[in-house]
């Protein structure tokens, strides 16, 4: 093999490799991109129907209700303009509390209720998930003092 042909082969190899990687990435991106919406956007119809997405906001004070003795829990998430009820079955994270920020992963169910399959309350030192902090309409998101 001449050096020229060798180089040609190497370039071809790299092209094929990069092409395969790009194809793989595109394939993997499909269905695995999760969009984030606040309750106002969901009510405005921005959120996709029949697809999972993430919803975030504050858990309304006094809205947390359990069906006694079961894992089912309901609460209301708000961005201080609009609110959406959420239903979830399972363990809530340690940091989940009324009056604080949360993000849920799931899809819209019947009757305008968001059915969550995962609830996150991961947050920074200021007790607020950043996405939630930005999506709130209140200019001063409630900070939890210690």
């Amino acid at each position: 093999m001449t050096p020229r042909r060798k180089r040609l082969l190497a370039v071809l190899g790299i092209l094929v490799g990069v092409g395969a990687a790009a194809a793989l990435a595109t394939l993997a991106f499909e269905d695995n991109l999760l969009y984030f919406y606040n309750p106002s956007q969901v009510l405005a119809g921005d959120a996709p129907e029949g697809r999972t997405f993430r919803i975030g906001g504050m858990v309304t004070q006094g809205s947390l209700k359990r069906t006694d003795g079961t894992l089912e829990v309901r609460f209301v998430v708000t961005d201080y303009q609009h609110s959406i009820p959420v239903r979830y079955e399972g363990l809530l994270p340690d940091l989940f509390r009324e009056g604080q920020g949360m993000i849920a992963h799931g899809r819209m169910g019947e009757g305008g209720e968001f059915v969550a399959d995962e609830v996150l309350a991961k947050h920074d030192e200021n007790y607020m998930p950043p996405e939630v902090a930005e999506s709130l309409h209140d200019p001063q998101p409630a900070r939890v003092s210690e």
Binding site: A25, A28, Y35, G69, T70, L71, E134
Partner: protein, 648 residues
């Protein structure tokens, strides 16, 4: 007073980093030995003053000096002393100081061990390390000073995040940082080489043990993080493809590729410019990781907006370091010609594939990690990339990598595969597939395609690794530490693969609502909620459940999961109850009081999960063995011999 001393020490350290850089570069350029010596003295001074600054901050924490803003934000009067020290690196400012201390330590080690290097080259390496120090120390002093006072002093601290009040998280950041920062040595070596425009086998031999050392710390750091997430985050996952995890995993992948590529550069004088590029990438990814994790941009680019000074500094610093290194690369790399060719089945080709596959996985993970940032910055909506993306883009390159790994270890440099080895490898491959089917069928009663592939690859990698010492001893060939290290590390990769396959294929995770006396069965184990009691710790109160586990009527263990409420801020935290076993872990986490005397529980069965971390420990140990190979110390020993001879 002490915090002011710390602040002052930090300023002195910055001045010394500056002189370290200036004297080293100046001395190297002018051939002035006195200047170069001054540069080395500055290294020692810099280390001392960074250590003083670090000590001052630790002292402020131990003494509970709540007039220091950083202490007040991350400590609490009830926090045990052990965690007060760990709180030093619990947040942004202190972790930067830890970073700087690690860098000063590595620089000192390089200075001490590099006496046999060509003097101007050695000075240039120290010069580049000094530049990085300047960047970090300036960043701290300008935007993130850990010694800033709080006026008036706080009466009580805000406490360290309860999640961080844990042994693994105390040791995780320092070890991880030793790894991150350790790549700065390979980076500085690469930059100095590019500056001088020549690269020989001695360069690669010199860089290898340093790269291995950094990489083994990073390996342990990542494994510790995964282990911590498993038992402390409460829900039993061991890897989430979280941006923070990816930030530490990407430099690891680059470092792994670099170790292999360095071997080729040393032995065969090939892949020269590629090796340099990897050295630059590994450190760039470490920098990116440090900043992304600590500055909060990963979750939201607008975190920059709340603190534009930091954001702009970080972007500027990254641009200067990465951009500068790449510019030098573009300028000098064409000079570095590789010296020889190789055959398609030689070890060189296997290393080439190793690198191509690792870099592919790395790039796709980088894409998935940064994609949400781009979308956010371009106002295209807030997205997150789910774990299935990462699973797919990681798995696809890793499968062929593991297959090739088993063969590549036995390939000779330059020439093709030897005949006898071929027969043995075919036998090993057959045995692996057989073993995989047997494990699946006998232990778990199921044979599934992906599981079979996973187990087969795990056994293949392990057996094929063991074949190396076997063949060497039979052929009466020596087994140097570097080869043994490779065998141990690759065997560890096989073990980790075994663990991952086992957990992902056969784990059971379920949530239950249980009253006292109720039971639930998963994977053949009966879990019974037997009792509930109050517990009290130094800075928390809580409840503890007794979960009695039995199998087929025979008692197995009692799990004691806790739900804690920390006195400061009222943070809740679940402490899982875990029964550790080689074959499986049994896991119970206690949730909330559901009313009617019932509590929520998450019960889990995790087969083979321990092998994930056991494998990682072996990988790191293999790295250690290889780093300690005599070959890397030969020149130093030779010099000592000379000295001894001259004394005699």
């Amino acid at each position: 007073m002490i915090p002011e001393l710390g602040h002052f020490a930090l300023i002195l350290a910055l001045l010394l980093s500056t002189s370290q850089s200036a004297f080293s570069f100046g001395g190297a350029a002018r051939g002035n030995a006195a200047w170069m010596a001054a540069g080395r003295s500055a290294v020692v001074g810099q280390f001392v003053f960074v250590a003083v600054a670090f000590g001052a901050l630790a002292w402020s924490f131990v003494q509970q000096d709540f007039s220091v803003l950083y202490v007040a934000s991350n400590s609490h009067s009830e926090l045990p002393v052990f965690f007060r020290v760990a709180a030093v690196w619990g947040a942004h400012e202190g972790s930067l100081l830890l970073w700087s201390l690690c860098l000063a330590g590595w620089t000192l080690a390089v200075t001490a061990a590099s006496g046999s290097l060509d003097a101007p080259f050695r000075s240039r390496v120290l010069g580049f390390l000094g530049l990085i120090s300047i960047g970090f120390q300036l960043f701290m002093l300008a935007t993130s000073n850990p010694f800033t006072r709080l006026m008036p002093a706080a009466a009580e601290g805000r406490d360290l995040n309860p999640l961080l009040q844990d042994f693994a998280l105390v040791v995780h950041p320092p070890i991880l940082y030793l790894g991150y920062v350790g790549f700065s040595v390979a980076f500085a070596f690469a930059c100095a080489t590019l500056l001088e425009g020549r690269l020989d086998a001695a360069w690669a031999r010199w860089t290898r043990p340093w790269t291995l050392a950094a990489w083994l710390f990073l390996t342990i750091g990542i494994a510790l993080g995964s282990w911590w997430a498993y038992y402390e985050l409460g829900w039993g996952g061991w890897w989430f493809w979280d941006a923070v995890e990816n930030a530490s995993f990407m430099p690891w992948l680059a470092g792994t590729a670099l170790i292999h590529s360095l071997a080729v550069t040393e032995k065969r004088g090939l892949f020269k410019s590629w090796t340099l590029l990897l050295a630059v990438s590994a450190f760039s990814l470490s920098l990116l990781g440090t900043f992304l994790v600590r500055s909060g941009v990963l979750i939201s680019v607008h975190a920059f907006a709340t603190d534009p000074e930091r954001g702009i500094y970080i972007l500027g610093f990254l641009t200067v370091v990465i951009g500068g290194a790449l510019l030098m690369y573009a300028w000098r790399a064409p000079r570095l010609k590789s010296e020889a060719g190789f055959e398609a089945t030689s070890r060189e080709s296997f290393m080439l594939f190793n690198n191509a596959l690792l870099v592919t996985a790395l790039s796709l993970i980088l894409l998935g990690t940064l994609y949400p940032l781009f979308m956010d910055a371009l106002e295209l909506g807030k997205v997150s990339v789910g774990p299935p993306y990462f699973n797919l883009v990681f798995l696809v390159p890793m499968l062929p990598l593991l297959v090739l790994l088993g063969i590549g270890m036995h390939a000779a440099w330059k020439r093709g595969l030897l005949g006898t080895m071929r027969t043995r490898l075919f036998a090993v491959a057959g045995a692996s597939i057989g073993a995989s089917v047997i494990i699946g069928a006998a232990a778990y009663g199921e044979v599934r395609p992906m599981t079979t592939i996973g187990f087969a690859l795990a056994v293949w990698v392990m057996l094929s690794s063991l074949l190396v010492p076997f063949a060497r001893l039979r052929g009466r060939q020596p087994l140097p530490a570097a080869v043994l290290g490779m065998v141990v590390a690759h065997f560890g990769i096989g073990l980790t693969t075994l663990g991952i396959t086992g957990v992902q294929s056969f784990k059971v995770e379920k949530d239950f609502a249980l009253g006292i006396g109720d039971g639930a069965t998963i994977a053949g184990y009966e879990f019974k909620f037997a009792a509930l009691r109050d517990v009290r710790g130094p800075n928390y109160v809580g409840v503890e459940a007794d979960v009695v586990v039995s199998r087929g009527g025979e008692a197995v263990t009692v799990l004691k999961p806790q739900k804690r409420l920390y006195n400061s801020g009222g943070n809740a935290l679940s402490e899982a109850g875990i029964e550790v076993g080689a074959a499986r872990d049994l896991f119970a986490a206690l949730g909330d009081d559901l009313g009617q005397g019932r509590w929520s529980f998450r019960l889990q069965y995790k087969p083979l999960i321990r092998f994930i971390w056991l494998g990682a420990i072996l990988v790191a140990f293999g790295g250690l063995l290889a780093a300690l190979d005599r070959r890397y110390r030969q020149r130093v020993t030779a010099r000592l011999d000379e000295r001894a001879a001259s004394v005699a």
